[in-house]
């Protein structure tokens, strides 16, 4: 893709917007349409676009596979950790009400935010990992 100037420039222009939109979908997910799955896919798609245009090696430098490996696991651990936290604070598993002892509604808000963050991290890491696995095969 070295000689194609237009896709390279357009990618550079679009990339911040894509990532920003992913973050918007992620953190607006508790009040509007959105959430971790969608945001994770959009975030991962940004990296995949970068890898398609600038090559796998550059993408791997930007987002190393070791980081992705941690990301894949970390998201699940955040999700399950929030659930266990609710359990330790005296509620049921994944009970967000107990996360804030004064205001259960705020607890719900906090809980869903953290859980969706975990989902987002895992989904975006998995998407990029799958892309690396296929693109890097047979090289």
């Amino acid at each position: 893709m070295k000689h194609y100037t237009i896709p390279r420039v357009v990618t550079k222009l679009l990339l911040p917007l894509i990532l920003l939109f992913a973050l918007y979908v992620q953190f607006h997910g508790d009040y509007g349409p959105g959430g971790g799955f969608q945001a994770g896919v959009i975030f991962g798609a940004g990296f995949i676009l970068y890898a398609l245009i600038y090559g796998l090696d550059k993408a791997r430098r930007l987002m190393p596979p070791q980081v992705l490996r941690v990301g894949v696991s970390l998201g699940v651990l955040i999700y399950a950790g929030v659930g266990l936290l609710g359990l330790l604070l005296g509620g049921q598993y994944l009970d967000y009400n107990v996360l804030d002892s004064h205001d259960p509604a705020h607890g719900q808000h906090l809980g869903i935010l953290l859980v969706e963050l975990g989902v987002g991290i895992t989904v975006s890491s998995v998407m990029v990992t799958i892309f690396y696995a296929f693109a890097g095969r047979g090289r």
Binding site: F37, I130, F134, G138
Partner: protein, 119 residues
């Protein structure tokens, strides 16, 4: 009008059968996966269309709306979409490794090679 009124179910059934036919009839492992994808997607349509309520708005709290569409099927099917993505990528990964091991992704050629092995 009864038949046209259920057009979402007709689309679901037609897509499902197209996908299912591809899974059964094609010999190429990737085409089988494409069929499997269509087959799964048809179920997404079944779920999403069943949540629609005539005259209902998107399930977001706003002042004017009284009737909301049912958001639960959408949430359920989000999970199934993720499952579909996982299935497709796992299937494609297997096809890549089958291609590396056998040098072909045609089901009948793979079978023929296996038969030679066991003789």
């Amino acid at each position: 009008m009864q038949i046209l009124g259920h057009f979402n179910y007709w689309i679901f059934i037609i897509l499902m059968m197209c996908g299912f036919y591809m899974v059964i009839a094609s010999d190429n492992l990737i085409k089988k996966l494409v069929g499997l994808g269509i087959f799964q997607t048809s179920v997404f349509i079944l779920y999403i269309s069943m949540g629609k309520i005539t005259g209902g708005t998107a399930p977001i709290v706003i002042d004017k709306a009284v009737v909301y569409s049912n958001p639960l099927p959408h949430v359920l099917i989000l999970t199934a979409i993720v499952v579909g993505v996982a299935t497709t990528s796992l299937g494609l990964a297997l096809v890549v490794r089958i291609q590396e091991a056998y040098g072909t992704i045609e089901a009948d050629e793979i079978l023929a090679q296996d038969r030679d092995d066991s003789l």
